[in-house]
Symmetry: C2
Subunit: 447 residues, 2 copies
Amino acid sequence: MPALCHLALQIVLINILLPIERKAVVARLVIKFGGTSVANVEKIRFAARHVKREFEAGHEICVIVSAMAGTTNQLIKWAKEAAPIHDAREYDAIVASGEQITAGLMAIILSDMGIKARSYSGWQVPIKTDEAHGAARIVDIDAKNLLETMANNMVCVITGFQGIAPSGRVATLGRGGSDTSAVAVAAAINADRCDIYTDVDGVYTSDPRIVPKARRLEKISFEEMLEMASLGAKVLQTRSVELAMAHKVRLAVRSTFDDPDAKQNDFANNDGKILGTLVCDEDEIVEKQIVSGVTMVKGEAKITLRGVKDHPGVAASVFGALADERIIVDMIVQNIADDGKTTDITFTVPDEEYERAIKALKAASDRFEYDAISGSKGSAKISVIGVGMRSHAGVASSMFKALADKGINIQLITTSEIKTSVLIDEEYGELAVRSLHSFYGLDKEEN
Amino acid sequence: MPALCHLALQIVLINILLPIERKAVVARLVIKFGGTSVANVEKIRFAARHVKREFEAGHEICVIVSAMAGTTNQLIKWAKEAAPIHDAREYDAIVASGEQITAGLMAIILSDMGIKARSYSGWQVPIKTDEAHGAARIVDIDAKNLLETMANNMVCVITGFQGIAPSGRVATLGRGGSDTSAVAVAAAINADRCDIYTDVDGVYTSDPRIVPKARRLEKISFEEMLEMASLGAKVLQTRSVELAMAHKVRLAVRSTFDDPDAKQNDFANNDGKILGTLVCDEDEIVEKQIVSGVTMVKGEAKITLRGVKDHPGVAASVFGALADERIIVDMIVQNIADDGKTTDITFTVPDEEYERAIKALKAASDRFEYDAISGSKGSAKISVIGVGMRSHAGVASSMFKALADKGINIQLITTSEIKTSVLIDEEYGELAVRSLHSFYGLDKEEN
């Protein structure tokens, strides 16, 4: 790893220049706390103890903070009260203040604990974004200030969710953007790991509320996490996982509410029991599971267009009509019909969009020909995910058999390289998830 | 006035470059709203209507906003909860968010009313301060951005109370600093007037709670306002008046709660009934009152050192001992004693500092010699203020006679060019203020 050479150099430099009480730098970490982890001053103080532990272990640290839970909603409420439709740049100026408050409080608390710290607003780093106010993308981070501050034995506390646009105005990244800020800062400072502290203690093989035997995964690949995130495991924002994958930033999902002072085997040591879940490159996962997780999305409505006259561009016409209405389509299946001239297209939309979707398709019937339209609400999409599928044949067929054994009828099937999804009657959702979880050996052992 | 030539040029330029619906620019205004005027979204909307009226009258406008009432206190509470003693730079980062929120909301509301507006945080203007975080002084304002924005027919909404220090960190000006921000911006953009909207409708000849017949002053000179401000008329922050005097910025104190849509005779027109109070250069006040106001400060304790051995530096020793304890001394009177070798020194401190002051003086008795120390709490300082005193002899003596006529004993007397103050028994305070108010003809006429 090139990061190691870099670190060795860092250690030498620091020992020469800064004869301070801290041990030689062990690793460089980004530590991110979400809104519920910093909901009030006491919680910020608790979260700060995690930072203290890592600092005392000899790490260089950038902390990324969200707004205190509730603050952002209050600010959004005020902005809407001011005017339901308003300039996104002003919205950003208002909403960005939430993280600013948390960053200052975290810096004060760390200093009070004897750890030198300073807060940075996005514009002070600077974290440079594009002009898409309210949903901006980070385009560049100048890491110079952060590296200098850390080299001075200080912790940087940075506002998540925001940066500065080319116009010099504050831009926010959109909801959940603090995860993305954390990963982007980790990439910019070449961090050894980015720890996302949240209110769950890791990524699970399935939703523990549905599958009581769900296990915490010690490691999961970026690709699997992306499938998990977009399928309902709301632990990490999809965009942050994409960014982590692109920059090979190792992500750890950890619980804020773990005892911060307990002696720990650091992820970086890679020995002993792993806390939380490490999201990393597939290569770092030695024993790959065939299936890593089973997920469910309820409330899917299926719509079938029968006897669609097949010609180039017909699918674009159908889904274009839905996109025009901003209806998001999930699964899409197209079968070749017997006569070779017409085709059946089936797809799913959220239950609450069902009526609008039907209406939009009927209204656009001049754009494509079809014999009949039908559909129903109340389906669930069940997915099994695992990078191991790539090298193991028969995962899909074994899945179908496991469901058939329980008398569950499959309505639709879609597959990707590392995922197989089926649509079934919503009533059988929990049964299907639990059955598949057991079938693929994911159940935790009884205590 | 050079401002007029400047304006004429401005009008020509705007008519050529910007063929917009607004009339030619009439004047350039700064409009400032305090915390109670922007306490919630509805109040901000009400305040914005004042801006709208002035904008429609053809003025170029910069609005300065405070934090919503209560917000700053909440932020300070959190900072103290985080650590009772904390880095002023972090305190500033936290507290500055309050005005940021109001500025964004005001900009949204103005836009919603059809007036193009954009918010500026102090660092975006930039308003440059020194490094004295928590009590910073404005050192420079680059008006280029503001002038450009106003020339584009937009209103600038600027966060009060804050700026950016040379280090690139946000610095606040200390409590009440928004008045100072407003005056500094007015000086920087060469404004014709700086309107301070607050919860009272002007500066009064005396406190209306004590003197029901107190009148609103239509005009008051900077010098008088300074004496009024520091003597208890808490309408304008002293520092902002000093700054306005130095830069000859005409200040208007106005009520936010006046009907914003009522047809008005603008201050700038200088005809008709004046709304609020204009604080301006003495030269602008044609009919100078001998006395403009009567003020009272209660809770003064007087302390007398008798038989102090008089030699150069003795006063410095006495008051140095009090300064070391951070005790603020108000009135000071020194009499030459009969023998020419010893002197009596009398001064006042706030009642609550009385015991500490006595203790400090006794502890420092090695630094100066005296025969006896005595004193008592419960006095009131009554002052009459007026630039007319300069040219009218006998104001002081008539004041003493007026008090004597009511049987009020005078304990101490101090005078300045435009002010005479006496110390009396606190019990006679209200009687003294009302008597002097009548005596100098300040009582308003009965309706």
